[in-house]
Symmetry: C2
Subunit: 398 residues, 2 copies
């Protein structure tokens, strides 16, 4: 459905000063609610073509070289754009499977988002333009006409860190009105990410709404904390102002987040209508967040019946000494003996952590620690992590 | 405070494969949590200089003309950037008063955000880069070390429109734990805006957190609905996918939103701990939202003790027939006779709606309808609307 139509012409014939001046300003540039969108003329970018190719366009006639870097391409690959006689650069992809995609342009060496695409997300320290190819097995990333959960940015106090910190919370449709208690998934981001990553790049609200509507997933609360203990909140959302965004922060993999995780658990269990037993707690994370999920679940005995490690880091960093990482074999053995319902590991065949994860799986095998293993194509990327959610979430709390 | 430091060198000497490969990839481009930020080298943009000027930089050596369009300039003005010997474009502003600013570059005619600035917001159909000049009388727009309220995106059902719709909700610090009831401000966006506008461009959460912390404002709930009845939610957040964003939508000023506003009121009063009387209800809006606030407050008798019209449209569009706009004089007279505590009007001296508002004030004067009037410099812009909030909100619920 598209309600986006211009006023019909007859309505414009007799104009109030409000409307007249709106139109005058539209013809130039800036105005009401401060900035009128000047109506998008051709060129359009991105344009999803029938047959699920995408055409990208860029109107920078004086550039000498323009590349597209898109996550549908091979790892770290770029593709050249071609300049036509009018000076317009364009590129058309091959057929793309259903997914959400991110891309940037590289104009004479300068990376930038697509100036014609208003939809962008931040991943670590850069913005990326996005589009979705629908109609396929990744259509659960789209907003659909289903009941929608509630997404909240909420601050809480962490006694362990003596800090006010922010988390993102998804509560399922009906949470507010049902009076019931719900199970909880704690969902952790990777290095350079923050409490906003799963809700934006991860399409968490869309995935949960759609899986719940299809009755593929139990209604559950999803808690997305900030796993960087040096940060109160995402860049731009704390009293640090608008800093340059760093990939490496101190205290990301030194046991401090894992130790302080109890503050998050206590806050959630004291402030939300949740089921407070092992059978109704899950923890999962990607990359560094997988590392956190591994060691939190191993160090909080008998707390989680469901663990998800998505492309996880599995080895502590060198020169890091924390009791969190000591006696791993003993802790995993205890975790196994206590029993749990699902220990799920997913990784891409081309992921740089593939070998580390293979060695970790051997460790689990040697302990007769049972787990489910999901090997996907490709590498360390959001396309995989969203897809892992589609696999993992339907197995929870059944 | 800045925790954004690189790992110390000695930590890098003995590396896990995780860390080594992180670093290798940093040197190229893409990686974990999919995209490492390549560490920002010079050039930096924006750079806030001592003395509160700002320097902007752009690395596009082949461009022929680069302009900056910033909302610290005169209306619709641009300023040229200068290319240095290395092909880097730069611009330095004059001294800027404390405020949040938005800007774009125009590169050979193509408008774009600053590729070096990761902080951007959407205003209607375009993205804008942002920065804040702090330390002055607009420092309430910054996130500070104060207690923070909660920001929620929540869906509700509108019986009048037979639609699921989304609103943004600010609840003050302590709302969840206090058990108290709170007053409510309904805060409406302008044409082309949506339920996200006040929370992003309007810096609503920061303004409320700071005014409440300073005890300048009563703790209150702020409800920011979507005033475009043709939309369920902001562009990108509904089942419309990622549409081209339109300034003109159907049914924005034809009485339908005002009529359906009761659904919002009922939802809030049935789902939040609010005080449900006239003395504890306020309604305000900017531009089209001011128009909505004017006619909602006039048509819902004895409902609001506080009304704020920020650069409001005051005249119905031609060829629009709705009982909402009939008998305006009679309704305003009833509103006056019922009594209210504050009818606040703010507008910029250069606003294109200035004359309409002056005529509306004459109408109010002729009715002996008392109001407070705030005339500010400049025009129809977010800088004024944020500043009006700093004036308006401390007067509420006292």
């Amino acid at each position: 459905m598209s309600f986006i139509l211009l006023f019909q012409n007859h309505a414009l014939m007799k104009c109030s000063s409000f409307l007249i001046i709106c139109l005058l300003f539209t013809a130039s540039t800036t105005f009401a609610q401060q900035n009128i969108g000047t109506k998008k003329e051709a060129p359009v970018s991105p344009e999803i073509n029938s047959g699920n190719t995408v055409t990208l366009r860029l109107n920078m006639p004086n550039a000498r070289q323009v590349l597209v870097k898109g996550d549908w391409m091979k790892q770290n690959a770029t593709a050249p754009m071609t300049r036509n006689a009018e000076g317009l650069w364009f590129y058309t992809s091959g057929v793309l499977p259903s997914d959400m995609y991110t891309y940037t342009f590289i104009v004479d060496g300068q990376s930038m988002i697509d100036p014609l695409n208003v939809y962008a997300v931040r991943d670590v320290s850069s913005l990326f333009s996005i589009f979705i190819i629908d109609g396929g097995n990744r259509s659960d990333y789209e907003v659909k006409e289903v009941s929608h959960g509630t997404v909240t940015e909420r601050w809480y106090y962490s006694p362990s860190l003596n800090m006010e910190r922010r988390m993102t919370i998804y509560t399922p449709p009906g949470y507010e009105s049902s009076g019931k208690d719900f199970p909880v998934l704690y969902l952790l981001h990777g290095m350079g990410g923050d409490e906003t990553a799963w809700a934006t790049l991860g399409r968490l609200p869309e995935i949960m709404d759609n899986l719940i509507a299809q009755k593929k997933a139990e209604p559950m609360i999803v808690i997305m904390p900030n796993g960087n203990v040096a940060q109160q909140a995402a860049p731009g959302a704390s009293s640090d102002g608008f800093p340059q965004v760093a990939f490496y922060l101190p205290h990301t993999m030194d046991g401090v987040f894992e130790t302080s995780f109890k503050d998050i658990l206590h806050f959630v269990e004291n402030n939300y209508r949740v089921k407070k037993d092992k059978a109704n707690r899950a923890i999962a994370g990607l990359s560094m967040g997988g590392f956190h999920a591994l060691f939190i679940s191993a160090n909080y005995p008998n707390t989680f019946d469901y663990v998800g490690l998505f492309s996880p880091a599995v080895n502590p960093l060198p020169n890091v000494h924390s009791s969190i990482y000591d006696n791993e074999i003993k802790k995993l053995t205890t975790q196994k003996n206590n029993g749990l319902k699902l220990y799920w590991i997913g990784i891409g065949k081309e992921d740089f952590l593939y070998k580390d994860v293979a060695a970790f799986r051997e460790k689990l095998d040697s302990l007769h620690f049972s787990y489910r293993y999901h090997e996907s194509p490709r590498w360390h990327m959001w396309s995989n992590w969203r897809a892992y959610m589609l696999e993992f979430v339907p197995q929870l709390f059944k």
